[in-house]
Structures are given as C-alpha cells and as structure tokens.
Symmetry: C2
Subunit: 182 residues, 2 copies
DNA sequence: ACCTGAACACCGTTCAAGT
DNA sequence: ACCTGAACACCGTTCAAGT
C-alpha cells in the first residue's frame, strides 16, 4: 500500500470515529470524506460501503477487548472470579467511552461482525479460559457459560448512552455480574 | 375521525407491523402505503413521519406489558418474587415474537419513547408495586430497584433475533432474573 | 496505483389537485 | 375532511477523467 493511501486510510477511520461519536444516524459519507480531507470516491476505495467502515471500528474494539482478557489471564494474583469480572468491567468502560463503536455494534448487520470474525473467535477462546479458571475456583453460578458473556455485554451496551430515570449502565453491568457469579 | 380514516389508520399500522417484522431497515414508506392500500400522503396524514409509526408500535407494546404486570399484581396466590419474574418472562416472550416492535424499541430515538410516555410511566408504577411486594417477602437482591427493570429488559431485547454461537435470549433473561433475585 | 467529485439511484417527505 | 401520487430533497454509491 502506498504511503499516501495508508495515510488516507487512517484519516478516514479517524474521521468516521469522530463523526459517529456525535450523531451517529446522521453521519453521511460525504461528510466523512470532507473531514478526512479526501474525495468520497477515496472513502469507497478503502471501505466498500458504510457498513465496512463500521465493521472496522468493531474489529479494532475486539482487539482492545482481547488485550484486557489476556491481561486478566496473565494475572495470577487476583481471584479468578474477580479477574473475569474486572476484565468485563474494563471492557464495558472502554465501550461506554466509545459511542461510535457502540453504534456500529448495535446497528450493524451480520457483515459488521463477519469482518471481526477472527478477533471475536479469539475473544471466545480467552473468555472460555477465564471462565474455566473461575469455575474451578467455584466462583461462578452453576449454569454460567463463556458463551453467555457476549449476550450480557451486548445487553449492557444497549443501555449505554440512553437516558431515562434510573438508566445507568454500571448498575446494569453489576446486575449481570451478580447473575454470573454464584 | 371519519370511518374511512379510522380504517386507513388501522391498515397502515397493520402494514407497518408486517413489513417491519420482515426486513426492518429496508422498509420504505411507499411500501407501507402500497401494502395498506393507500397513497403515501395518507400515511403521512396519520403519522407525521417514520418514527411516529414506530412510536405507535412501542406504545401498544407497553399497553400489553402493563396488562401482564396488572395480572401479576392481582394474583394473590403466587410467591411475589415468582409473580414478578413470571411477568417479566411473559413480556419478554411477547417481545421476542414481535420483531417489528423490537426494531422500533432498539433503533427508535427519543421521540419513539416520548410517544409512549403515559404507558411507560404506568409501567413503572406497576413495576414498583411488584418490586415492593417481592422485597417485603425477602425475594429480591438487596440493591435491586424497579428502575432496573427497563434496563434489563432492554438488554435481553438486544439479544433477541440476533444469531451467534450460544445466543439465546431465554438464557440471557434467566441470567438477569438470577441477578434480580437474591 | 490511487484520487476526485459530478452524476445517478433511491427513498423520506411535501403539496397541489382531487373527492 | 380526507385522499392521491407526482415532484422534490437528500444521501449512499458509482465511474469517467485526472495525477
């Protein structure tokens, strides 16, 4: 990839992140191009369509999730149940601060997740290892599975950035964590 | 309201429900009009815009939710904690079978909920009464509040109709219910 | 190789004309 | 009062021309 192309690629992603963090449903491709300082055609050269742009945000977020899970796995000091719960809390916080990616997660279709397939599979492997450890230590509810984690994180994500009396994603997360632990 | 106008109103809503249950993001207003057997202008005469159409779906769903909560309140036989949990299960099932309204819930903005304000306030009153009873019976987790219910239902809703390994809204719901109960 | 932006297609919304 | 649907505006996407 030519140097200018690589720079454009990054600029387009940065522009998308900034704009989607603002008023996500109203983001236009022309606007992304303008903010990135390129023509619309260039946006489409790098990302086949709008969904692909969102897919890349999701893929990068999974990479960040995985960094946290790996750190939790490497941390031999903490109680396994706490290590898992804290990793989920940190990941939730990261997502709460990234409205652009939340939008991609919630409104993106299959293709968005297909683009992050490798990273989400790695996520599941790491989550399974953490769950196994916590289970052995007797710190999880009997029927809980690693596969429940994406659902619960998706649920907590769906309450982020929404307003309403009593709406607080941290409370929601703790409710879910209580369901996960014994 | 004239008889033909009332009939059109119902037809438009029915058409919207059917179409939004199919491929929600692709539903067009022209298509709603065609299926309802009216002109597009008539759709707009009855509903100021697309969001208003979704708002009405949400409002009617809250009415159904409230029917269940009232029934649970009236049922003196069951344990209060079970009465609450079962009402939530029934409401979740209703929503799971109604993809059109799920779309309205998840992708609708503030206006969608503003349109259902009266019904959602009634929902909170009923939920608070059920929670109070279950709390007195010692059947809820210490910090749980009625205000947590919309968050948890929103979370479970966000996993409905999505596919993925292990994705099952009933499991997600039971996880949340375990967090709610002691 | 890669970039540009005018042009096209599609769909939400309006409004002049009709009953 | 209410209905109709052609017309308009907006925005995702393409592609011929450029470097």
């Amino acid at each position: 990839m030519r140097a200018d192309a690589r720079r454009n690629h990054e600029r387009i992603l940065a522009a998308a992140r900034e704009l989607f963090a603002g008023d996500p449903p109203d983001v236009q491709m022309d606007e992304v191009a303008r903010r990135a300082g390129v023509g619309v055609g260039t946006v489409y050269r790098h990302f086949p369509d709008k969904e692909a742009l969102m897919g890349e945000l999701v893929r990068e977020r999974f990479e960040l999730f995985n960094v946290r899970l790996r750190a939790a796995l490497g941390d031999a000091g903490a109680e396994p149940g706490d290590a898992l719960a804290d990793a989920l809390r940190e990941n939730a916080l990261g997502l709460a601060e990234d409205a652009a990616t939340r939008f991609a997660f919630m409104s993106g279709g299959e293709r968005v997740f297909a683009h992050a397939a490798a990273e989400s599979e790695e996520f599941m492997r790491l989550a399974e290892a953490l769950v196994r450890r916590a289970r052995r230590a007797g710190q999880l509810a009997p029927g809980f599975r690693a596969e429940d984690i994406p659902m619960m994180m998706c649920g907590v994500c769906s309450t982020m950035g929404r307003s309403g009396p009593g709406w607080n994603w941290r409370r929601h997360l703790e409710l879910a964590v209580r369901g996960m632990r014994g």
